[in-house]
């Protein structure tokens, strides 16, 4: 049954990705910007899924890593004049290195201790970005970040950039899929399910955790770098702790431990404020309340709802 379900999910995912290719033709200027933000968030949340969904690490630092990627590419492409197609990979590598550096000592912590330590990292990132004016621009941020150009083709408009992001998300999804079923992915899940037994089976638990953490930061770095070249501007506010919480919320709403859930959650949560615009100030109250209800009644996320419906249909079809 398992492989059959995988094939179904794969077919659905492929269909969604193909449909997404023609989507910009039907979406106007503002909508495409939101859509782009959803794709960027999806990359960050797929990354978070490695650390949280697979390895079970409660991290509240994802927005900080997105910020690392965004600021690295911003600094490299403005102060050093690197072209974006070089500064983006450099930002991903840089973010990964930062995550390994802080992950090696921090990942010895568990549960709420790890949550608090990563929270401390995210808060510290914003403090540094706000105060290190000479390099990170302080509250003014860094502006004048160049748009992506490849062989004379400029992705300066949101419509064009959508295809860049689509490609990036498709690649990120495919790579995540491959990792999920590789020995690394299986080891991560083993660590989450039973750390002691996994350690006893002479699998390096700390190494696996650092790998999951680094992968999640690499994805965050990519998301941040892509964000910086879309908005052409970065400022500390976009990478605050509240955004880390939103990323975690996206993953939980979609369904932790699932790549498609990560994407679905990112898209849903990004569009939620647009759908509930009439609520005005009350929006965040409704959002928080909805999240709590999902946590209580659908702990496996909205995708589990789709799974339940699917099972019903199969049973009915027999």
């Amino acid at each position: 049954m398992k492989p059959q379900r995988n094939r179904l999910a794969l077919a659905a995912a492929t269909l969604a990705f193909v449909l997404a290719l023609v989507l910009p033709a039907f979406v106007s200027g503002y909508g495409i910007r939101i859509l782009n933000l959803a794709l960027i968030s999806a990359i960050a949340v797929i990354g978070l899924n490695f650390a949280f969904g697979y390895a079970g690490l409660i991290t509240l630092a994802q927005a900080g890593f997105v910020g690392c990627g965004a600021y690295l590419t911003a600094i490299l492409s403005t102060a050093l004049g690197l072209p974006p197609w070089l500064s983006i990979p450099a930002a991903v590598v840089g973010t990964t290195l930062i995550s390994v550096t802080i992950g090696l000592p921090m990942l010895r912590l568990k549960g709420h201790y790890l949550a608090l330590a990563t929270l401390g990292f995210n808060v510290s990132f914003v403090i540094v970005a706000t105060n290190w004016k000479s390099v990170m621009g302080g509250t003014d941020g860094i502006s004048g970040i160049p748009s992506l150009t490849l062989a004379g083709w400029s992705a300066a408009t949101d419509h064009r950039y959508y295809y860049v992001l689509w490609l990036a998300l498709a690649a990120a999804t495919w790579i995540a899929w491959r990792i999920r079923y590789s020995h690394i992915g299986l080891a991560m899940i083993a660590v989450r399910d039973d750390e002691i037994a996994t350690g006893a089976a002479s699998v390096g638990v700390t190494r696996i955790k650092v790998q999951a953490f680094a992968l999640s930061a690499a994805y965050a770095g990519l998301a941040g770098a892509l964000f910086a070249h879309m908005t052409n501007f970065v400022a500390p506010d976009d990478f605050a702790l509240s955004h880390s919480i939103i990323y975690l919320a996206m993953l939980i709403i979609g369904g932790e431990g699932s790549i498609l859930g990560a994407i679905a959650g990112a898209v849903i949560v990004t569009f939620m404020p647009e759908l509930m615009r009439d609520l005005g100030q009350a929006y965040m109250i409704v959002f928080g309340g909805l999240m709590l209800l999902i946590l209580i009644f659908l702990p496996k996320g909205l995708l589990s709802l789709a799974g339940m419906v699917g099972r019903r249909l199969r049973i009915a079809g027999r």
Binding site: F52, A117, I127, V128, Y283, M291, I296
Partner: protein, 292 residues
């Protein structure tokens, strides 16, 4: 000692004792109910704003305004128990963390709608009065904060360690099932714990109001310092919360004055992360056999 240093130390002690109260609220809840409450900061903000309502908007005298606000916070604790704790109880740590974070968001935005985004400046019972301490002019409110915080801590100590109900609460914290078998009303102890958390955070909010502005976004920064305080002191230790709170308060004030005012919060988190890495059990250590 220079006059400035004395002023810094007293204001550090005042802010630190507020962190200690918040840290204690956090520890009480975590010890008794096993819930890591990430909405603690928002409870402080609500406490502060309830005092704004009773003291400024209803213009009650402070002797009536403070008890009224605290009574409302006790009620708030009961509502929190019913609406948040009961459904999230016995869920995995991460569900509780995200759940209480979400409740914090709900509370913060409800406060925004209720009290607006313009900060209030709550009155102190001592106004702007200053007191002479070793030749330095010290704000009377700062001394009031330290006195009230330590009075609260003393009352809490007597309640937990010297009364029969306190003994029952400790029994529930140690082993919920055994306590239930012994005929202790476990659920009633949980309600009581949330009421105490409401009173501790409410007091913290009332005390901090006149020192800073009452701002709907004040919860997170206070909770972050209180987290840092209990990490430094020891996650489940009562003296740890007090010592940790005061250390954080002092390092915040002295760090801002002598090292860098921009990086004072970063300094606190640096110390917290160092403690997590080098001595995760904190200064006073964590009892063996904790829920992980």
């Amino acid at each position: 000692m220079s006059q400035q240093l004395i002023q810094l130390i007293v204001s550090g002690l005042a802010v630190g004792s507020v962190y200690a109260l918040v840290g204690l609220a956090f520890i009480m809840v975590n010890e008794a109910t096993g819930v890591v409450n990430f909405a603690t900061g928002q409870m402080v903000a609500i406490g502060c704003f309830l005092a704004v309502t009773t003291g400024i908007q209803l213009e009650l005298p402070l002797v009536a305004a403070y008890p009224a606000a605290l009574a409302a916070m006790a009620l708030f604790g009961i509502v929190f128990y019913a609406v948040v704790f009961r459904p999230l109880q016995d869920r995995p740590v991460v569900t509780v963390i995200i759940g209480t974070v979400m409740i914090g968001i709900v509370i913060q935005n409800a406060a925004l709608i209720t009290w607006g985004s313009v900060p209030f400046r709550p009155r102190s019972p001592f106004g702007r009065q200053v007191v002479d301490v070793f030749g330095a002019s010290i704000s009377a409110h700062a001394l009031f904060v330290i006195a009230v915080a330590f009075l609260m801590i003393g009352l809490l100590y007597v309640f937990i360690y010297k009364t029969a109900i306190g003994a029952r609460m400790r029994a529930v914290a140690q082993d919920r099932d055994a306590a239930r078998l012994m005929g202790i009303g476990v659920d009633r102890m949980f309600v009581l714990t949330w009421v105490i958390a409401g009173l501790l955070t409410g007091t913290a909010g009332i005390l901090v109001g006149p020192m800073w502005f009452a701002d709907v976004n004040m919860g997170d920064p206070i909770a972050l310092k209180a987290f840092a305080a209990i990490i430094i002191g020891g996650f489940s230790s009562v003296p740890g919360a007090i010592v940790g709170g005061i250390l954080v308060g002092l390092s915040e004030m002295l760090g801002a004055a002598y090292i860098s005012s921009a990086y004072k919060d970063g300094l606190v988190f640096l110390v917290m992360i160092l403690f997590l890495l080098v001595r995760p059990q904190g200064i006073f250590g964590e009892r063996i056999g904790q829920r992980a």
